[in-house]
């Protein structure tokens, strides 16, 4: 019964602190399963996270782990990767962490195409501070700072990543666990900036505020509203209601990653080997 992925968890730190039914645990397992699938060396893989519910994942994962400051995971990860290109660097972030306070770092990480795999746990809300609206809270949905429904227009983080220059962009959900694992695997394989949005349920803050039912009900909502990209592309516009969203690989391209380009520069000018 012992699962091979358990070796990637710090057993003495479990159970984790997330609320009953929180989707973060599902995504954390998908990440380690993708790491296992891609055969990454545990000693040579670094997990970097920001601040927020999702970012607490780093503490449970048995690698070198770096729990940074709010919004700053991508700059820290950029430094780690450039300083030691042998390291596989995976970033765990949340919708507030990545697209609000860390938004500028996010788009510039994409632009530089640093070889990072960034997994955004999208729970549509600031969970750790008790349920405030984030830049990915859908318009009209409630939060403690949007008691009458959010007036803001949300980001589509996948569109943003692609437009900013990320070379791999995908989305999945906590319901579609195997699909999610595949999406993360693809990101790890891509040499460059990979972005995976993982839609997760926050039953405590977001779900409760918006009467979305139990954790299982929230997962069922993902099942019923996520549409595989191939089907989405063929779907008539009138069926693309505000609840529906596409999942799958949106972008898988190649462009020289920043670290490789810089190593090339060092060679070109005859610099010492780093």
């Amino acid at each position: 019964m012992e699962r091979s992925y358990e070796k990637y968890f710090r057993q003495n730190r479990l159970p984790h602190l997330w609320c009953p039914g929180c989707g973060n645990g599902i995504v954390m397992k998908a990440i380690v399963q993708a790491i296992e699938k891609e055969g990454l060396n545990q000693d040579n893989t670094v997990i970097v996270s920001g601040i927020g519910c999702s970012s607490r994942a780093s503490g449970y994962m048995d690698f070198d782990t770096l729990h940074t400051a709010h919004g700053r995971a991508i700059p820290f990860a950029t430094g780690v990767k450039l300083a030691n290109p042998e390291l596989n660097v995976i970033v765990i972030t949340g919708d507030g962490d990545c697209t609000a306070i860390g938004g500028n770092h996010f788009i510039h990480g994409c632009r530089r195409n640093v070889d990072l795999t960034v997994v955004l746990f999208d729970n549509n809300i600031y969970g750790m501070t008790g349920g405030q609206a984030s830049p990915m809270t859908p318009t009209g949905k409630k939060a403690t700072t949007a008691p009458y429904g959010s007036v803001d227009r949300p980001f589509n983080a996948c569109d943003l990543a692609g437009a900013a220059g990320a070379t791999y962009v995908a989305r999945s959900t906590a319901f579609h666990v195997k699909h999610l694992t595949d999406m993360i695997s693809g990101g790890i394989r891509n040499k460059g900036f990979s972005f995976i949005e993982a839609v997760v349920q926050c039953p405590t803050a977001y779900g409760r505020k918006n009467k979305m039912g139990s954790p299982a009900d929230m997962l069922a909502w993902m099942r019923d509203n996520a549409v595989m990209k191939a089907a989405w592309d063929k779907m008539p516009e009138e069926q693309k209601t505000s609840e529906k969203f596409p999942i799958g690989v949106f972008l898988d391209s190649s462009y020289e990653d920043y670290g490789n380009a810089y190593e090339g520069l060092i060679q070109r000018i005859g610099g010492k080997k780093s």
Binding site: S58, L66, H67, A69, P75, G79, K81, E86, H108, S274
Partner: protein, 380 residues
Amino acid sequence: MSKARLMQGNEACAEGAIAAGVRFFAGYPITPSTEIAETMAKLLPQYGGKFIQMEDEIGSMGAILGASLAGLKSMDATSGPGFSLKQELIGYAACAEIPCVLVNVQRVGPSTGQPTAPSQADVMQVRWGTHGDHPMIALAPWSVRETYDATVMAVNYSERFRTPVILLMDEIIGHLREKVELPDSVEVYERRKPKKTRAEGYEPYEPDEDLVPNVADFGKGYHIHVTGLLHDATGFPVGSPKVTEESIRRLHEKIARAGDEIIHTEEYFMEDAEYAVVAFGGTARTAYEAVRNAREAGKKVGLLRLMTIWPFADKVIEQLAAKVKGILVAELNYGQVVHEVRRAAQGKCLVELCGKYNMKSFEPKEIEAAIDEMCARRDA
């Protein structure tokens, strides 16, 4: 062939960093520190190191902390507005004990202030800018040559104490050009390494006898956890009063214990001095001139130059205050170091400010006049 070179303070800083083993620099352009980034962008790849221009000042600070954890000696340089933005991550580096050097080439503030004009008004921000209790090391060179040495020293201290070190320059020194001769080699402190294996119960934040921990670099198989939450020896956060108190105390104690060794001051014309001028950085050059002129005029005045600004030279000032009738603190601001001098002098002598904050550096005659006024007041 003479090895003498004409060099700017900012360039000397970059060269000192390379000599001290800095192999990663992240920066963001800002006057009057930009030449440091420009020089690093040119030099680092020649040495196999890496330079990256980040999207903002916070990003560059984050990048050097990540690079340091991955094993490279790392540095960043900025000025007032950028220094303000970096404050949170300076505290992160202090809390998570990540070696790094941050250069602040001071300019006139507050806010955008006067970007090209000299100032020394960030002394207190250096010490207290980031939130929470934390120690600080800050060095303020007064010449191009000393900027080179101070940068090496800053890198060594940051590695030895695993703490952020601020090189507190000012525009006068940053943009000053002097003929310098640089040494062929410098003494470099190599980062300490884990003394135990994981099997032997290695804990990344278990301190050595000098209270500094042997945190492993990433990628060495130790699977360490680094966080800005207060943590115990394991590196993991603990919400206990005991751990919180012990952590905060150790952070301070590791620097305090080494205090005498890292507090550098210099005295000039002090032997029979009845009055003293205290100054640092670019202002100390003018103060030196002023004191020399005063001596030539037969006045018993000396100069105490602070090279280490933080930790503050309390003992040196206390001894000085017991010896002289009055201390004049000359600084390019509305009064910052003067408060520290007053505190350390403990009322043993008169302490007065000679402050200036109008974009101009001091002229010797201004400090001379201030010395005369202080003497007249004290002797009256």
